[in-house]
């Protein structure tokens, strides 16, 4: 029997689900080995009997907590995909503003109807078995992780910075072009998508196991960034991560 897979989305843009839909041949390969029972972006039927839950989006409303706990209870394997589900992602920028202001800004006069909590990755609420990182996820890595989990293996995810891949791809360093970049501490595996197309790395795949954040801060300082600007840069997608000690010392509301 093919394992049943269900996709669930929380707070995010669902772009990672679109990445899955656009897998091409690999999507057909996926459908040969699993049965998809729930996938809002791609089908109208909803099944609640599943083995593997694939989650995208961050936990950012009170109701999300119960929902994700129920999913965890049902699923044998839980996979978080994308920067929002794995790191909190850009959603966590709201964690550094007043919740009231955020609600008013987003929902206007309906703000009172929609309660909000600080955004956080799935792993801060329930245990996560595997993660496919990135904003959006890298399709080939999604295939790699699903393929590994179906065969009972541990997927091999790079534990080195984007710089390694970026240099090997013969890119001109963002810093040599007058930009700043989080590549030196961010986990590789994105086939250096952003720098290869001229954009700096904003850390969507999170940190490597032992990032030298102090060195990264020094580099950014040398390029003229103030400590506040550095923290803000780090918070762009890492706002929910407990890193860099002093990240929470600053609470500057625009």
């Amino acid at each position: 029997m093919k394992p049943k897979v269900a996709f669930f989305d929380f707070t995010g843009c669902e772009g990672c689900q679109l990445q899955v839909i656009s897998l091409g041949d690999d999507l057909l390969g996926l459908l040969q080995v699993v049965e998809v029972v729930n996938f809002r972006e791609a089908m109208s039927d909803r099944g609640q009997d599943y083995d593997i839950a694939i989650i995208d989006g961050a936990i950012s409303q009170p109701a999300d907590i119960e929902r994700i706990q129920a999913i965890r209870k049902q699923a044998k394997t839980l996979v978080a995909i994308g920067a929002c589900a794995c790191l909190g992602g850009v959603n966590s920028q709201k964690n550094f503003r007043s919740p009231e202001d955020v609600r008013r800004y987003v929902y206007g006069d309906r703000a009172d109807l929609i309660p909000t909590i600080p955004a956080r990755p799935v792993s801060q609420v329930v245990p996560v078995d595997w993660e496919v990182r990135g904003c959006p996820i890298t399709r080939s890595e999604f295939v790699k992780v699903i393929s590994a989990l179906l065969r009972g293996l541990r997927p091999i995810i790079p534990n080195y910075p984007v710089c390694k891949e970026c240099r090997a791809h013969e890119n001109v360093c963002m810093y040599d072009k007058g930009m700043v970049c989080l590549g030196p501490v961010t986990r590789a595996g994105c086939d250096p998508m952003c720098p290869s197309f001229g954009n700096f790395c904003f850390g969507c795949r999170g940190l490597i196991d032992n990032p030298n954040l102090e060195a990264e801060k020094e580099i950014l300082k040398e390029r003229g960034l103030s400590l506040e600007e550095i923290i803000r840069f780090f918070r762009f997608t890492w706002g929910s991560l407990d890193i860099a000690g002093d990240m929470y010392q600053y609470d500057f509301i625009d």
Binding site: R151, G152, L153, R154
Partner: protein
């Protein structure tokens, strides 16, 4: 430019699992054979690169003595992807083999010597082919002593063979690190066995294999007893990715473990600063 290269250098040759037996909770012994009947042609102490197709490749020490009817054995602890996947395979399945690789123990140079084997945990695996080879031609060697230490009696590998080794003239002592109910043998780390070890002279060689932490204390103990560095042999564990001296992973200072080792004399390692812990 030289193109007489072996095109199959990185390509594993498929071998069939003809027997698989669970030795302990985490170690499994596999008896392998190439379908074409060709032997492996290895020396005790050498290793091979074992592929589980679809998963990956890992360096594995060869657990059997040479020339066993074209068969060879590996004894594998379940730790990572490759070894876990290997544990799930059974008789009849195929695995990929590259090898034998590296340098074995210099057995021929040790003729007429008294031999002291010190094994810690799974360190018994690379020593087993040496012990079996030596005992098969015991008259060519002097005394054979084996000290084997493990954390818990449940981890005792090749337990049923120990009696045969004793019957063939080996002096065997086994110890567990801490007292365990039902264990009436020696208790204490393997170095405590060295205390009762009495040998002297030029014609003693020792072969030691165990976890990194064991080496330091055993080497100190043996040095204190006057054993010669160039007659003390070890086998080192490193990340031997290609096994051919190319990929760089197993390098210790200037030494490529996969080509120049994995067996070394202590004399060769003494000044190699990254070789032994501490």
């Amino acid at each position: 430019m030289n193109c007489n290269a072996d095109d199959r250098l990185y390509t594993p040759k498929l071998a069939r699992i003809i027997q698989a037996s669970q030795l302990t909770e985490s170690e499994r012994l596999f008896r392998l054979r190439f379908p074409d009947g060709e032997g492996l042609g290895h020396k005790p102490g050498q290793f091979l690169e074992l592929s589980v197709l679809g998963v990956g490749e890992a360096p594995i020490t060869i657990a059997s003595p040479p020339d066993e009817d074209g068969c060879f054995e590996v004894c594998v602890r379940k730790v990572g992807n490759v070894t876990s996947a290997l544990h799930r395979l059974s008789e009849g399945d195929l695995v990929g083999i590259r090898g034998p690789l590296g340098r074995g123990f210099p057995l021929e140079e040790l003729k007429d010597h008294d031999l002291l084997f010190v094994a810690g945990g799974i360190g018994i695996i690379p020593l087993r082919p040496v012990i079996k080879s030596v005992l098969a031609r015991k008259s060519e060697f002097g005394r054979v002593i084996l000290f084997y230490g493990m954390k818990h009696p449940d981890e005792w590998l090749f337990r049923d063979e120990f009696a045969q080794w004793e019957a063939r003239g080996a002096d065997v002592r086994v110890t567990v690190d801490r007292p365990v109910a039902g264990w009436d043998g020696h208790v204490g780390v393997v170095t405590t066995l060295l205390a009762e070890f009495q040998m002297c002279g030029e014609m003693i060689a020792s072969l030691i294999v165990g976890p990194p932490v064991m080496y330091k204390f055993v080497l100190l103990g043996l040095s204190a007893k006057g054993l010669r560095d160039h007659k003390t042999f070890l086998s080192l564990e490193r990340h031997m990715k290609c096994g051919l001296g190319k990929c760089g992973h197993c390098q210790i200072n200037g030494v490529l473990v996969c080509r120049q080792g994995p067996t070394f004399s202590y004399a060769e390692l003494k000044d190699l600063r990254e070789a032994l812990l501490g």
